[in-house]
Amino acid sequence: MTLFHKVLLGFVGLAAMLPLIGVPQYWLYTLTIGLYYAMLASSWSLLVGYVGRISFAQAAMSGLGAYVSVLTGMYLDLPVIPSLLLGVAAAGVLGLFIGWLTLRLHGAYLGLTTIAFGEILRITVTAEHQLTQGSRGLQVRPLIEGAGPATYYYIFLAAAVASVLLMLLLLRSRIGLFFQAIREDEDGTASLGVNVTLWKSLAFGCSTAFAGLAGGLYAHFVQLITPSMMSMQEMGYVLAMAVIGGFSNVVYAAFGGVLLQILLEALRELGEWRLAVFGIIAILMLRFAPNGVFGWLENLLKRKG
């Protein structure tokens, strides 16, 4: 374990202590939202950073997970956990399908197709207002009746850590090697007997399933969801988080999500300017430090260590 990994683990350990050392509820709430974005940003990085497939439908997939979980709970009277799992399955299966459908598309063509899928999802959720209350928003029952902020915080911390660990487990397996080989060269990977079609589709499905989980948990935490959680603007925040944290690594991307959410709250006086500044930082990062803040930090510590 390198020095950098110890520092990151230290952060996670510190995060686990926060409710015990009396951090205000307001900040626990902020961090819980940050952990939602951590899951979403790392799920996006799983696809973009490792498989080299771009998607702008990640926020929409999170929304799909959220709406499926909420609606199945409402109309089928399912308990929270099974409805959450249905949300994950819906996002995963749709992702798998989109991944399979877009096998031959690359780069900007894939970007445009995923924008189209994301927007169609958002428009559908908005249009079917008898079912979803449209843009007025849908009331959601809580994850656990009567639970306080600290409970939610721990649930989200556990979910985020578990998600990232699962992703790392997948990436360390031979499947992760196939993903990265596909990112580097698809024909070259196929020439070595790797079923490129299967793994490209499956990567899409895995990534969207994690997004669906994040969205479902989020819905039962904030208890009011609107179609705006599926918008391209929301997608832009997720992209900025992953890029600033470092989209080539699921761990960096996750930390990017938490970091940006903390900054967003800490710099409240700056109003809308915060988001403009995040945009500028994301652009500068892409141009000059494509491994993101945490990639840069890791390099720095490596050189010192």
Binding site: V48, G52, I54, F56, L101, T102, R104, L105, H106, G107, A108, Y109, G111, L112, T113, I115, A116, F117, E119, I120, I123, T124, T126, A127, H129, M232, Q233, G236, Y237, L239, A240, V243, G271, E272, W273, L275, A276, F278, G279, I280, A282, I283, L286, R287, P290
Partner: protein, 300 residues
């Protein structure tokens, strides 16, 4: 439906098509020369709207100069963006050029959107239109602001086509679009043509924003929907194809107005209005990625 109603819808479709074409032509021009899709195009359009608003409402210039002002400002913005963010792609300074191009323009879009939110606030502004009143063609009634905006839009499109066809710069742009390597051997300065096309593409979006601003109000988020329409248009016509962008715009304009009135449940039809084109986009990319006018790509 009466004949007049049909004609009115068709005319509406044509007017909308003009703006779609104006925005789409910019995307096509940029894709043709630089082989990248500019995901910040809707925000260029929005900046055009605000440039016009600044010139007309704050500086008190006549509305037509608002459009000129927007064109000049967006040309400058386009050139600046090309020089700082896009040029590194073609000079080998970026590791993963494809991913970089997509993400950097997407991040630029988010940045410009939030910048406009910070500077101008989320409130709608409405600069004075080039002309007011209504125009009557027999029984057909068309609002004057839309008609004049579309008229200027058509003039701009014709102007662009003439420039591409007859001027040296236009020929250079077409040469680079068709075959970059060959154009280079013939002594065409690729980096200058790239800068010019990105600037011109941004200026076209700016013009569209300036023309529509007075009709539908200027707000920071105004670019999102038209940009997506323009992506549908260029994909339908074939990415990078100039005639494709125009024909694609004509088709989409008509499809949208008639699809909406042909579906019996009006509320539902309207709610899904923006989704029809997206379905078209997905189908085209899956079945015929080169669009109506593009050449198929051959994989090596």
């Amino acid at each position: 439906m009466t004949l007049v109603a049909i004609a009115e819808q068709a005319a509406n479709g044509l007017i909308i098509s003009t703006f779609y074409a104006l925005i789409a032509l910019g995307i096509a021009l940029i894709f043709g020369v630089l082989k990248i899709v500019n995901f910040a195009h809707g925000e260029f359009y929005m900046l055009g709207g605000y440039s016009c608003y600044l010139a007309v409402t704050l500086l008190g210039l006549p509305p037509i100069f608002g459009v000129v002002f927007a064109v000049v400002i967006l040309m400058a913005v386009g050139v600046l963006v090309e020089q700082t963010l896009i040029k590194p792609i073609h000079t080998g300074k970026v590791d993963r050029p494809d991913e970089y191009a997509i993400m950097i323009t997407f991040a630029l879009a988010i940045m410009l959107l939030n910048l406009a939110n910070s500077v101008f606030g989320p409130w709608p502004q409405s600069p004075a239109p080039v002309s007011r009143g209504i125009v009557e063609f027999g029984e057909l009634i068309i609002p004057g602001d839309r008609l004049s905006a579309a008229g200027i839009g058509i003039l701009l499109i014709v102007g662009l086509l003439l420039i591409l066809r007859y001027t040296w710069a236009g020929k250079a742009v077409r040469a680079v679009s068709q075959d970059r390597a060959a154009a280079e051997t013939f002594g065409i300065n690729i980096s200058r043509v790239s800068m010019l096309s990105f600037g011109a593409g941004a200026a076209l979006a700016g013009a569209a924003g300036a023309l529509i601003g007075p009709v539908f109000n200027v707000v920071p988020a105004m670019g999102a929907v038209p940009a997506i329409k323009a992506y549908i248009v260029v994909v339908l016509g074939g990415l990078g194809s100039i005639p494709g962008a125009i024909v694609g715009a004509l088709i989409l304009g008509q499809v949208e107005v008639f699809a909406t009135i042909l579906i019996p449940d009006t509320n539902r039809a309207l709610a899904y209005k923006d989704a029809y084109g997206l379905v078209v986009l997905i189908l085209v990319l899956l079945v015929r990625p080169q669009g109506l006018f593009g050449k198929p790509e051959r994989r090596a």
